[in-house]
Symmetry: C2
Subunit: 345 residues, 2 copies
Amino acid sequence: MAVLTDRQKLILGAVVEDYVFSAEPVGSRTLSKHERIRYSAATIRNEMADLEEMGYLAQPHTSAGRVPSQRGYRFYVDHLMMQTEIDAQTVQRLREVFQQRIDAVERMIQQTAVVVSQLTSYTSIVSGPRRNSERIRQVQIISLSPGSAVAIVVTNAGTVHDRPIRLPDDMSAQELERLVNLLNSKLAGSPLAYMKSTLYQEIATDMAGVLEHYEGALGVLDELLRVAEEKKEPVFVGGAINVLAQPEFHDVEKARPLLALLEQVDALYSVLPDEEGGISVRIGEENAVPALQDCTVIAATYSVGGQPVGRIGVLGPTRMNYARVMQILDYAAGALTDTLQRRLG
Amino acid sequence: MAVLTDRQKLILGAVVEDYVFSAEPVGSRTLSKHERIRYSAATIRNEMADLEEMGYLAQPHTSAGRVPSQRGYRFYVDHLMMQTEIDAQTVQRLREVFQQRIDAVERMIQQTAVVVSQLTSYTSIVSGPRRNSERIRQVQIISLSPGSAVAIVVTNAGTVHDRPIRLPDDMSAQELERLVNLLNSKLAGSPLAYMKSTLYQEIATDMAGVLEHYEGALGVLDELLRVAEEKKEPVFVGGAINVLAQPEFHDVEKARPLLALLEQVDALYSVLPDEEGGISVRIGEENAVPALQDCTVIAATYSVGGQPVGRIGVLGPTRMNYARVMQILDYAAGALTDTLQRRLG
DNA sequence: ATTTAGCACTCGATCGATGTGAGTGCTAAT
DNA sequence: ATTAGCACTCACATCGATCGAGTGCTAAAT
């Protein structure tokens, strides 16, 4: 693969930045008026023709300016993009989210999604935090009426999972208490995820000795274990309508598949790339999801105790302000990591 | 106000139904081919001109067919609409939601929103269930680390509210237990909403006698009370993208304010009309919210123990299939009422 | 007195011709 | 190697003509 000359890099960078700003194909004349570019339009045309031949630029039609191709964006992100400082006002907006100390973690994550979407004018997707490092702190079963109760599992991180369950009709309060005590002695300190796989047998055996309603209690245990099973990490979306603000999605038929995707919470796990560490950028067809062929997804990881537990991402058109989004995500992921560390660590 | 002749009613009804189906202005010729209408196009034209003069029909432009006005829809809904039987397949789809017995109530409500939106092809908004009839069953404070804990309030209906709180650093386990016992003895059985207003003073006084960390415990009480305060009834939206499928919103600029509204969860309370009982229909400008001037919102109430606790609504263009939506909402609200009654009652 | 056939008229939508202009590629001069 | 010049391309906007669905009105038919 041919290496780009400095001048070609200069022009490619200028095309990307101009196009990101204007959303219009960039012509040679426009570029020649650029301060940093001191070549004539004709020279630029020659270079642009070469860049197109190499696949970095594309032409919507013969008599139009050039547009960066997926490859052009990739090169820009990898080699040309200048990382400037994040501005104070943006930092301030982000900080406000993390300074409300007493709020629940999920709410904070959700607000992060909203603020990031507002700051970037794109759509934000935030996942997590993943719960598999959390350990069971306490199990409670609170009976509501004969036969029905609610099971509550509290983890050491302070997250509370609850689920309605059924009890054997004739189980006494004393026996329920014994059951809960047994469950607590067995489950406390073990990770949520282990509840099902390893502890079931052990607890079942122990229950046989202590409880009259062995069968019924087994059912309770079954239902309790579902709490852990069901607990997928949540995904929050902020600013889904922002896609409509982008000229590339002014056509409803273009926007619909995207919005449909964003409404399907389950599908969003596969949108956020699950690379380890750092900020990942998926441009156009680098995204696995077909609906995102004309989109870029940038995502950063946030962690607790060195373990990545979630991702915060931005979804927008490939014509995206890469530098700014990366700045914001970098900051937000760092702040999330710090805040969660302080809160859960 | 002049009363409509039978023939005018027939024609008005036919215009509404044809327009709801086709989304195109309805001409006299089209109607004259209708089976039920045995008049010539000319007669129909005369009647349509009269109906327009009376404000039931409107003409997009001189050489176009007629379109129902807001008033036309209103008359149709009030006097002309035929209530047919709901079809078996639709009933089946709805039943599936309510037959999963063991699921949490909120999840069931959310699924109701999704299924109703799918069945109607419009957007569904479901609120509730309102919690103010629920009473506190039990309060728990589970300490996580010195100084931090999570407060849990369980109601008699089995809903669980939790909130991270701070504890005085030097509060002992014994004292925390005393605090929780005190809170339980005072709060158990009282409605969530009363927690703040009436019980605060009483509990505060009692605490002074029993607890060493009076100040700290007071703080805990404060934080606990926020659980009740924050607990607005939830609102779920299903099928927000369905608005894009409607021809009236094929233009992004038309669709955007609507989708923006649907993304603002807080704003949705004011979308669902809060009339008591029955099914309410708000057509066009009958909606208070400005963004809904071209929309119809139909909503039904569901109840627990005779008390309305939530609403299930459908939002679509004024050109809506009123009969079908009302059928579905009627059924869904009834099923929700029954299911919740069995579950919570 | 109603209803309907007939007809001129309206007006949005569609289509084609035309012009415009931004932008290109190529060639020749610098 | 760079650039000025120029012919060429092509999307897009504009204009006019045409088309046709639909109307309102009048006069004939029932």
